[in-house]
């Protein structure tokens, strides 16, 4: 079946997810090379290319080990004239930024679009950094769609812009574009060209100091050219002729437009929507600022536009007051919503708004919290319990990014420090040296390949003393089961070389390495004890498949659910209280197991002091 995004009917209207729209835009631009490391809210961009590349072999797609490699891979293809896209979440751009900032100097021959998805409010991220500053830092052009239709159209345009200027272009979105859906009118699909030529030109491409000294002025010239384009761009528009000026970007534009319509004072406003927001289109801003009595800047995150607008206003002698980031007006924190924007407009321009009044909710019965939890049957739960069995609260547990971060919650309470991919392992030696205490660091298999290799080499070399537990569930769990270098993908018909984690660890010089199945609880706890007596860096690989991923594999046999024998259970509740497994619930006074959720991992059965938890005999009946 043809992938829906390959629908070749121009002007056809489809309901697309923002990330699907971005992928469609790239297909319409004839993208031939795509790479990514998954990360919410960007993951579905890569997912489209992953499935389409399996149907159409003139499109190359790969999940790279991390965002930096993904960017470099796409850069290589773009240096040879191909049209390439790389997608990542905002913090992924931190990883890729080292390459990006000098790639801006060399530029590219074909097209390279860097799609980066910010996550205001941190729905599923460790910070809410505003990636727009990377455009400023790198002098690269940046596009910011305000709607799902624009997400497609701007992506297609980004390829042309990139090729025209010979430089990478940043496509910056936020969660409410990536995970929004809207009606998209399709364009023509362009044929792709997947065979490139590399013309050697070391004194333009090999960034030694003498070369870079020539390239930096060239970059500034290109950036000036980009500014000229931005001044004329259809993505930067002035709407209305009023004297109340509002400058906005991205999703904020929708809130502003709706608020103005609702206010009934349409003629009083003038809106500057900046979709091509770096370089700042100075001439257009000047044109906009003329006759503005007051200016309000509506942008989520940092005062990126506000700073730029203030500079332009100052340089050109505009005295109208500019309002923007202010605790009482528009915050640097979290997401905006229509009410926040309405209130800001109402307060700055002194206009009444009849906002919808929420009902009183304080005195409604409280909804119990529903934090995300490790799934029933998740091997990470067993791994954490085994380590906790040996060290309790006495050890320090630097952790990392993935499903296993959820071990933080009670009752597991595993996780003492988390900042970035690979940083649990990277920081372990620091904790150990500074305290002399036992340190057990955790890292997932995908994260290990992403950012674990260098810190492990460094720790071995510097003779640190800690235990690293690699939680190997055979997939990238949190972002939707993408493959990584440690995963066998032969069942998907993909031609990849699987890398064995234990061999990698040994290859990096770790002498004491053990692999155990954490769901064999006693053996796993023994392994933790045994390996912890070894000096230096030791590595315990806790290997068992992600039950959600496992279900999708050929030959998967569902495990037999467990049940509690009433005659044996003494209601200690060790099972529930230690594991926090979501298959348990309390009915009346007794613990019950939901047979639809239990995967039969048997962890609870192994820790029950009465041995009262047994597999269900036969189909659905009590033993």
């Amino acid at each position: 079946m043809t992938h829906p995004l390959l629908t070749d009917t121009p002007d056809r209207k489809m309901l697309l997810l923002g990330n699907e729209a971005i992928a469609r835009g790239a297909l319409e631009a004839g993208v031939a090379f795509a790479s990514a490391y998954p990360g919410t809210p960007s993951s579905e961009i890569a997912l489209q290319f992953f499935s389409i590349a399996r149907e159409q072999n003139d499109l190359y797609f790969e999940y790279s080990a991390n965002e930096k490699v993904a960017l470099e891979m796409a850069a290589g293809a773009a240096m040879c004239g191909l049209r390439a896209i790389v997608s990542m979440k905002h913090v992924g751009l931190n990883v890729a930024s080292d390459a990006l900032l000098t790639l801006a100097y060399t530029g590219v021959k074909g097209a390279l679009v860097v799609a980066v998805a910010d996550d205001p409010f941190m729905y599923s991220s460790q910070n809410e950094q505003d990636s727009r500053y990377y455009a400023k830092l790198s002098s690269l052009p940046m596009l910011e769609p305000s709607s799902v239709q624009e997400a497609k159209d701007m992506t297609r345009y980004a390829f042309n812009l990139s090729e025209g200027l010979g430089m990478p272009v940043i496509l910056r979105t936020t969660t409410r574009i990536n995970h929004a859906s809207g009606v998209v009118s399709l364009g023509l699909l362009m044929l792709r060209s997947n065979s490139g030529v590399f013309h050697k030109d070391p004194f333009s491409y090999v960034c030694i100091p003498s070369v870079s000294r020539n390239l930096h002025p060239k970059l500034l010239k290109k950036s000036a050219k980009a500014a000229n384009i931005a001044n004329e761009s259809r993505w930067n528009v002035i709407q209305g002729r009023g004297s109340f000026g509002i400058v906005c970007n991205g999703v904020s534009y929708g809130y502003v437009a709706d608020a103005i319509t609702e206010s009934g004072y349409t003629d009083r406003f003038k809106v500057l929507r900046l979709g091509f927001s770096h370089p700042i289109p100075e001439n257009l801003v000047v044109k906009f600022l003329k006759n503005c009595e007051k200016v309000l800047i509506v942008e989520e995150g940092e005062p990126y536009l506000e700073e730029a607008i203030r500079v332009v206003a100052h340089k050109n002698g505009f005295g109208a007051p500019v309002f923007g980031k202010d605790e009482r007006l528009l915050s640097r924190l979290y997401e905006f919503d229509p009410a926040i924007v309405k209130n800001a407009i109402s307060s700055v321009f002194d206009l009444p708004f009849t906002s919808s009044v929420p009902i009183a909710t304080e005195d409604l019965p409280a909804a119990p919290p529903r934090p995300p939890n490790l799934c029933a049957g998740c091997p990470h739960r067993a791994a954490y319990l085994a380590v906790r069995e040996v060290f309790g609260d006495s050890a320090i547990y630097p952790t990392d990014i993935g499903c296993y971060t959820l071990g933080l919650h009670a009752p597991l309470n595993m996780g003492d420090f988390l900042i970035a991919m690979g940083a649990g392992l990277g920081s372990a030696g620091g904790f150990a040296r500074a305290t002399g205490k036992k340190v057990v660091a955790f890292i997932g298999d995908s994260t290990f390949f992403h950012s674990g290799l260098s810190p492990l080499a460094s720790s071995v070399y510097n003779r640190h003393d800690f235990l690293l537990v690699i939680l190997d569930n055979g997939t990238t769990g949190m972002t939707g089961h993408q493959p990584h270098p440690g995963v066998d993908v032969s069942h998907l018909g993909l031609d990849k070389t699987q890398i064995d984690i234990e061999s990698v660890v040994r290859g990096l010089g770790v002498k004491s390495v053990l692999t155990v199945n954490p769901l064999h609880f006693v053996k796993a706890a023994e392994a933790v004890k045994r390996i912890s007596t070894e000096p230096g860096v030791s590595v315990l690989i806790m290997k068992a498949p992600c039950p959600l991923y496992d279900k999708t594999l050929p030959g998967h046999k569902p495990g037999r659910p467990y049940t509690i024998r009433r005659d044996r259970c003494k209601n200690h509740r060790t099972c529930v209280n230690k594991t926090g497994c979501p298959a348990f619930h309390i009915e009346g006074d007794r613990v019950e197991i939901d047979p639809h959720r239990c995967t039969g991992c048997a962890l609870c059965a192994q820790i029950c002091p009465e041995k009262a938890i047994m597999p269900m005999s036969g189909k659905g009946s009590e033993p």
Binding site: L15, T40, Y123, S124, S146, S147, V148, T175, R176, I177, H179, A180, S181, G182, V183, V251, Y253, G254, Y255, A257, D258, T261, E335, D337, P338, A339, I340, S355, S356, V357, P358, I359, A360, T361, D363, L364, P365, A366, A367, P368, P369, R370, P371, P372, N373, C375, C403, L406, A410, P411, M478, L548, V576, N577, G580, C581, P582, F584, H585, I586
Partner: protein, 208 residues
């Protein structure tokens, strides 16, 4: 069309996103503009899933507090959690069958008395209809069809008069393979009828 804002809340795995998609496709087939956003950070791990569906005029993808025309809750505690999206004129349609959060299973939190809580909510909004959609879904073949039962109830509420039942049924057939589509068509009809019954039952009570 004047903007209609529908807030759908559920627990991960209840099919919230698919329900929103079906609603969106049904609206699109009737020529109505659709803007939706979904939040499912770590949904497969038992968290809360929210969909905001905006139909008709406008440019935004988000529903602020007090702005929802309809709050459609697939789980009663999630309906309560999202109550701040309601104003005095919001129509609330909620499933009554609970899914206990593990915080409750562990005894760290208390699951509220649902009939009492819903009664309290009903007195503040423009109308509340509660139905055991989980049981209805089970009766048509699978708990998995709970989302479509709720969609049937929404279609039945009259809030979306511009989208006929045929458009919903076409959307279901367009997104699912034959046997599953059949089961979900039954789920849709079951939710549709249950809403009508509830409303009739309630007004009968009110008259007494």
């Amino acid at each position: 069309m004047k903007t209609t804002r529908i807030m759908i809340v559920a627990v991960g795995g209840q099919g919230n996103i698919l329900a929103a998609k079906l609603l969106g496709e049904a609206a699109l087939s009737c020529g109505i503009d659709v803007r939706m956003s979904e939040f499912h950070g770590m949904a497969q791990r038992g968290g809360v899933v929210e969909s905001m569906v905006l139909l008709g005029d406008g440019a935004g993808y988000c529903i602020a507090d007090g702005e929802a025309d309809v709050l459609l809750g697939f789980e009663p505690v999630e309906t309560l959690r999202a109550a701040r999206k309601c104003s005095a004129r919001t129509r609330v349609i909620t499933n009554t069958a609970p899914i206990l959060p593990f915080t409750v299973a562990l005894g760290h939190a208390v699951y509220p008395d649902i009939p009492l809580a819903l009664q309290s909510l009903a007195s503040r909004v423009g109308g509340l209809t509660a139905l055991d959609a989980t049981t209805l879904a089970r009766l048509v073949g699978s708990v998995q069809s709970l989302n479509v039962v709720m969609l049937g109830a929404l279609a039945s509420s009259g809030v979306l008069s511009a989208i006929g039942t045929g458009a919903f049924e076409k959307a279901i057939q367009g997104k699912m393979k034959a046997p599953l589509a059949l089961q979900n068509l039954r789920a849709f009809q079951s939710g549709y009828a249950a809403y009508q019954n509830e409303v009739r039952g309630n007004s009968a009570c009110a008259e007494q």
